[in-house]
Symmetry: D2
Subunit: 340 residues, 4 copies
């Protein structure tokens, strides 16, 4: 079918390409003329502006926004004057679902249908397909089905879940209408919250393996330091690249994140190119906010989020406070860096 | 090759079967004659006792113990008088690696080689193969290679990790000699520690999705209860079976544990057959102990372990203490069950 | 000075009494005539309604609201038509500071000053005084100084902090103008967030002491249960009432919460009157929300909040999910209650 | 009474001084002649070596060791040949209670009584007295009662706990015989575990207050960063020195640690002299180990311990792993330091 794609960054450009490959008609637009030009070489129909893009689309239109969450409202404000009742506006970025609810309500008066799509798959989506979590009005979502079908991974060679044989629905195709406006981004938000937890679980475990040689290292004895009681229990020099590779086969913890970790470790076991400042892009935070509103305990997902904050130095004042208290009650001075 | 298997429970019996299918000669023994008989029907060579099993094996022997961790020492004590220098004793159960180190040291005088194998795969191993993490002397591990090769999943149709093309080793086959005695169970221990973290991450996230309808429920207003500020943000009735199925395709959080979760939820979305008392079998605890000895932060894995403790009622006295404090400073009485 | 007090529950009634004792003129009102009557016997000036209360106050008026957070907006809406420019409206309850900001902005047009006061002290405040965290316009807060001075504990016999000798301000009196509208409840919110953390820290530690006799109890050996490796290390039967009393003197962890805990344990070491369903009244949740907005790691305060959620059964579905996964991959059945 | 004190560091010297002030006869020894000389000026009886110290003591002797945990075994080995049946050996340092159990057992053959004393009070103990948690044989502990009575704070002006009036025992004096060998250090261990939790709770809360001005700072908008949704909610510039002072009076969270924190913040609100590398000296780790052995959930105490590990850079590899995964699935590059 015909669709407009606004925003040709990493994600948007590849989604347009995947649509083009499958024969859809894509009209594309981006602030960067180079990005538009690149897609035009892949047979996309280039538009010089969102307004021009709208003009090129036949009614009822479908326009897919793939822009940073911070500029979605602005992009919508630019577009709406050009759209009409019956058109569909899709936000495929990382919006907070609360904004979806607000936008859908605001657009209701115009009879423009707002569809929110949480998309997972990252830079691999072009080839693997995009896992899509969709919220919005039933009819609009159904009208977009050809687009979702193309973008989604499809069943692939993934084994069918026992008990699914007689069930209908698109979940096995890799896309799902989750509920009314915001449901798509709500599910995507929690998806990312889980992602943070999974990543931290692997990171902690692998770090425990890495430090399994601590008994071979000298340590000093003073009143401030706990000596390792049983150094003989920590004399292993473990190969993390091999172990993560191993776990990919037959273990209970095999996963796509593990696949990626094995790849990163085989490339450089020391991960020297990374400083360890881990970003968080919103969904992890919003997941905890939802957990708290719902009174659902989320200690693991929270700990994972806080680890990211701490990785960026955000615990510094807390740590100074603890050192200050130790100094006050015990006269303890901090040890210099480099000493445990 | 020829191997003795002692312990024909869930795991041991299936491992023997997988070995038999691939043409190995298995002599089997178990406390339960029925278990031995069942294997004998699958062409195993039945032994009435560990002693008899040893007699049936040609030298140098290889005996695989697949018994509960709590009885491994006893089983070894029974066996050792019948074994000789050059024989190999394998502990394939869930031993604490600290015991491996002790046992290997104790057996060194007898020149019996002790090999520890941490095994993942659960009830699926018969078909999928077992992921094996191996510790012990190089020569003994190499002699057992045919056994490991059969038990392991092999490369299967899992995509090769980029950068692995030129690397040797068995990790891609699903088994790995990780290091000296105890290394196998050390790696398996941390594997399970990670497993706890992954499971809790999914469980938390899915529970947040499940409670996304909390805004549709009435709540009362009193000084003790926080009213939900924005009930309109929590009016989603989400289908967890469909969502977990969806995530299996193309999402960043696809994994084998997710596959299993999708299967459990399609069978019964309410999971009514479970009471929610989650066991922990040791490895999770030992992982945290190692993390602390190594001074490696493990907040996620710890939180996952504590969630299991709490699920079994182990936080009860803590909770009573907190209620008692609230009563003392604020006169707050506990609310009856059923009220939030 | 003259002040109106609306809301004569546990907190409001005692605050009015403390003001009356110190010679202030209090006009009081409450939905319950009995509550008003009780205060009238303590020399308060009874008003039959908020409107009547306002009439009795000389201009410029000061009205203190001490009602549940959920009904503050309603109470303000009732009052405002009777108030005039220059009057002060004080919310002394547990409002979310976000509401303070909104209310102050809304009242700005009327030139009624809105002052938010977070109050700590609980049922002990009548005698000990109330610790007050205050937000709002400087002039209004200054006009209320006589009221704050009376309600606050004053310096008492608490040792002066070294370095405070030359500093001005009211902090040593037990009340503080923290900043503009909302600052009072913001600081009180975090105060309660800390309170949750402190309470949980004591509760966890005391529970570890209580279980120090676990080595004297029998346990079973099976593949599902980790046997306690060193029962000889856990044969202590510790007296928690004595230990908490002990810690009140000279230890680093002495505190008022510890005083209360010691009192609760001396009354009944088993705390049998409590079921362990711990309420949370909002501030703990909002504290975490602020931490996340600010990217400040708060793992301890979060864990304390989640422990309360779990104490009320809110982790049940998470636990069922983990049991379901264990069943799927390992065939593990849950153990019946009563077994560890 | 007469007592020997070996180890005249920060703690040992002050304890000897407190004993001398109260008229006890102290024979002192230390590796540092200067330390011995300093005490001699305070009327202590100087001994040139542990052996000489023993000789100077009348039988049955009492020797108090106040040396780093790492050298206690060595100190005992040096001393024992000079001691006799009926003598008492006290370990007043920070030993792991597991070592106490071992030592008491080893010394049983010699009929030397071993008493373990966990001591809290830090550099303030000389004036405030030391809170002492005691383990060991009843008769030996009773014989040392005069020493404990002097070292302890006594009831002071701390209010008696309601319900204590009719109870006997020494808890109100600030010392307590907690149980058999190891019980003293077990209780002290958990005391410190709690201490870590309390410190972290204050540190987190105060950091949340400190960052309450984040809405006044500029932030950038890109796909990697979550913009602060409501900057107007975070425009407070709070005075932490005043707020901690305030909370000392009448608030639920008043404590001795808060007193110290208020003092540290009044001296320098920025705590610039501290780098934020927080040591941990063993007890916090052992507390978690005990919690896990006992299956007692300790999420708060664990999180507090891990925060210390992280403060010293121990999470670095975990963080690199998370950045590596983000790069693999999303092409996300780390942001340079200085950007959130």
């Amino acid at each position: 079918m015909q669709i407009g794609m606004i925003g040709l960054g990493r994600m948007g450009a590849n989604m347009a390409r995947r649509l083009l490959r499958d024969g859809h008609h894509c009209i594309v637009s981006d602030r960067s003329p180079q990005a538009v030009q690149a897609l035009a070489q892949d047979k996309a129909d280039a538009a010089g502006s969102p307004a021009e893009l709208v003009k090129k689309l036949a009614r009822p239109r479908a326009v897919w926004l793939m822009v940073p969450a911070a500029v979605v409202d602005e992009a919508i404000a630019d577009l709406v004057p050009h759209l009409e009742a019956g058109d569909i506006l899709i936000d495929g970025g990382n919006s907070y679902y609360v904004d979806d609810i607000r936008r859908a309500k605001a657009l209701a008066a115009t009879q423009i249908d707002y569809v929110d799509v949480g998309t997972s798959g990252g830079v691999w989506g072009l080839e693997r397909g995009y896992c899509m979590m969709i919220g919005g009005p039933q009819a609009a979502v159904e009208r977009l089905d050809p687009v979702f079908r193309t973008l989604a991974p499809g069943p692939g060679d993934i084994a069918r879940t026992a008990g699914r044989e007689t069930l209908a629905g698109t979940a096995e195709m890799g896309y799902l209408h989750c509920g009314p406006s915001g449901a798509g981004h709500f599910v995507k938000m929690v998806h990312n919250g889980i992602e943070y937890g999974l990543m931290a679980a692997y990171a902690e475990g692998l770090s425990i393996l890495r430090a399994a040689d601590i008994g071979t290292k000298e340590s000093e004895a003073d009143a401030e330091t706990t000596p390792l009681r049983d150094p003989d229990l920590y004399r292993y020099s473990l190969n993390l690249a091999d172990i993560t590779e191993l776990w990919r086969r037959g273990s209970v913890i095999s996963s796509w994140l593990l696949d990626l970790t094995a790849a990163a470790l085989v490339e450089d076991p020391s991960l020297a190119r990374f400083a360890g400042r881990v970003s968080d892009s919103g969904e992890g935070r919003w997941t905890i906010r939802a957990a708290i509103d719902e009174a659902v305990p989320a200690p693991v997902l929270s700990a994972a989020l806080y680890a990211r904050f701490s990785s960026r130095g955000e615990a510094e004042f807390e740590n100074k406070l603890m050192s200050a208290m130790r100094y006050e009650f015990g006269g303890h001075l901090e040890k210099p860096a480099g000493k445990q």
